[in-house]
């Protein structure tokens, strides 16, 4: 089974963020970059499927130099090979552009039986690259899997939706996105880290993928970005528990008008 995992490298989710001088993006220097948590789950799922069905797990990441460390980390977890996909022409890709690039890269690698993605990349939280990618590859897709079983080319996926669980039937090849609860990603041990140094790391650019600027034109543009307005200071309620309870209910009813 040939499994391709798309890995987005994102600012550590605990980072303090600053808005850049252009007022449109975050300052990207001095940040710690990590594999987006859902993509770590995707790598883990790929490794588990490989353990069960044999095959290979290949990682792809679109991004500048910083994604290489993320890919190495994925290799240390146990993936077989990785490719950094980068070109100055990819500087301001939106989700549609990223999907176009990833689709071209997957075709370039001869396709896959299963493409795994996170359901959203932590940070930008676009939650759309995988669906667009499935479209571009003309593959079926199931999103936000919390359980995944593969038998031959038949796939059964469970996903949580409002009010319950959906059970899906799908056929391979397919694009499937991960949700928390699917698995617990393993840590890369020292042995894994050593082994990762010898694993193949490819590089692809726009020319290798035959991509023109026109195909990558952004469909959406971020015009501004700012931290949310401060919330008003907290109003602390005094007294014994009974008095506090009474006063809180009064305030919620009379002042905030929410109950």
């Amino acid at each position: 089974m040939k499994i391709i995992v798309c890995v987005k490298v994102v600012p550590d989710t605990a980072s303090r963020l600053k808005v850049a001088a252009d007022g449109k993006q975050i300052v990207e220097t001095d940040l710690t970059w990590i594999i987006s948590p859902y993509d770590e789950i995707a790598i883990e799922e790929g490794l588990k499927l490989r353990e069960k069905h044999a095959g290979e797990v290949i990682l792809l990441s679109v991004g500048p130099e910083r994604v290489v460390a993320g890919l190495r980390n994925g290799l240390a977890m146990g993936a077989d090979a990785a490719h950094q996909i980068w070109d100055p022409a990819f500087e301001s890709l939106d989700a549609a552009g990223r999907a176009t690039v990833l689709a071209a890269a997957i075709r370039h690698l001869g396709g896959a039986d299963l493409v795994l993605c996170g359901h959203q990349g932590a940070g930008e939280d676009d939650a759309q690259t995988a669906g667009l990618l499935a479209g571009a590859l003309d593959l079926p897709s199931v999103s936000m899997a919390i359980k995944l079983d593969v038998e031959g080319t038949a796939v059964v996926v469970e996903r949580e939706v409002e009010g319950g669980i959906e059970v899906w039937d799908a056929t391979l090849p397919a694009v499937i996105t991960t949700q928390k609860g699917l698995n617990t990603p393993r840590y890369a041990g020292l042995k894994g880290i050593m082994a990762a140094k010898k694993k193949p790391m490819g590089v692809m650019d726009a020319a290798a993928l035959g991509l023109s600027a026109d195909a990558l034109r952004a469909r959406t543009e971020r015009r501004s970005m700012a931290p949310p307005a401060d919330r008003p200071p907290v109003q602390l309620i005094q007294g014994d528990p009974k008095a506090q309870a009474k006063e809180l209910i009064r305030l919620l009813h009379e002042e905030a008008k929410v109950i």
Binding site: G123, A127, G131, M144, I165, R217, R219, M225, V234, L248
Partner: protein, 327 residues
């Protein structure tokens, strides 16, 4: 050219879901501001109330796709239906609720139509029918504004943020049947409903959440009791999900649910940035915590510094009394 705003009407068990009604209401407001029309796309088996409700909340037209193989949801076939309606109506915008279904559907609609997609929007401004959307990014640490470079503007709308319009029972609404190839290589086979009566977190008006301050799994009952008294949905911090006190479906935060209720009550939750990521856009936040320095107080509107084992029972009793007096 007239502005045609399309909305996707999500149906579960025959009924229209509230977030889709919020989308129709917003579409109506936008259309009214640009002398436009609202067209809702309904796929699968919907009851008559669903169709009527779309009309009374602002749809001028409902396009109803109803083949046998559309009964169960599939991203592929449903996206084909929406894309077909986009083309036949020459729509300028598509509004889809950011629910599990909408989140799955919208990118495939974007692929088929070539339109840009902005996810999880919480407000729109409009100039000559061109939209600018606001949305949270970086776990709510940033609020961004987005515009579209494509003519077609596709947006998903955060549930519980857009107000429902006042229904007008006698608004004219034309219902048009339509057909589409329902073939799909991935589709829902079965739906297993959650144990009875549990309220859906992402769409609840009131949420009571508990954290590690509860000390032990059996004390989550204190949160349940207050939740029941207020008719609230129940949430949790990741700490107690990881400890197995409640299932992951309760988790609020960056790796759990994003919620925007009118009232969020955090009990014994410290307010880690990853938890705030999921609830900081709640309208009113109440924090109950014994540590006055807990970060949750920085975003709370009302706070009680104290022992939740004393406060929660008192609050449950008071809430029960208050709501009984109003019946």
């Amino acid at each position: 050219m007239a502005n045609i705003i399309l909305t996707f009407a999500e149906i579960r068990a025959g009924a229209l879901r509230r977030p889709s009604l919020e989308a129709v209401s917003e579409a109506r407001r936008l259309a009214d501001g640009a002398s436009g029309r609202v067209v809702s796309v309904l796929v699968g088996d919907a009851n008559e109330t669903a169709v009527k409700t779309l009309g009374s909340h602002g749809a001028d037209k409902v396009i109803r796709f109803g083949a046998a193989d559309l009964a169960s949801y599939s991203s592929e076939s449903y996206a084909r239906a929406v894309a077909k309606a986009v083309a036949s109506e020459a729509a300028s915008a598509v509004l889809i609720a950011y629910t599990a279904m909408g989140k799955d559907l919208a990118p495939r609609v974007a692929f088929l139509t070539g339109g840009g997609l902005v996810s999880d929007c919480s407000s729109f401004e409009q100039t000559d029918g061109r939209l600018v959307a606001k949305r949270a990014q970086y776990s709510g640490k940033m609020i961004s504004t987005f515009a579209w470079t494509t003519r077609l503007q596709i947006a998903t709308l955060r549930p519980n943020v857009f107000a429902l319009g006042a229904p007008l029972a006698d608004r004219a609404c034309e219902v048009v049947p339509a057909e589409i190839d329902g073939a799909a290589r991935a589709r829902v086979r079965e739906f297993r409903a959650k144990e009875g009566g549990k309220k859906e977190l992402a769409e609840a008006q009131v949420i009571v959440s508990g954290g590690r301050g509860l000390k032990a799994a059996e004390h989550y009952k204190l949160v349940e009791d207050l939740g029941n008294a207020l008719g609230a949905a129940l949430g949790a911090s990741r700490a107690i999900v990881d400890d197995g006190w409640v299932s992951h479906s309760f988790q609020v935060g960056q790796t759990g649910k994003t919620v925007s209720p009118t009232l969020y009550i955090a009990c014994g939750i410290s307010g880690a940035i990853q938890h705030l990521a999921g609830m900081s856009s709640s309208r009113v936040i109440v924090a109950i915590n014994k540590d006055p320095e807990a970060p949750i107080f920085k975003i709370a509107n009302y706070g009680i510094v104290g022992d939740l084992f004393e406060i929660l029972p008192a609050l449950t009793a008071e809430a029960t009394r208050h709501l009984a007096s109003r019946r």
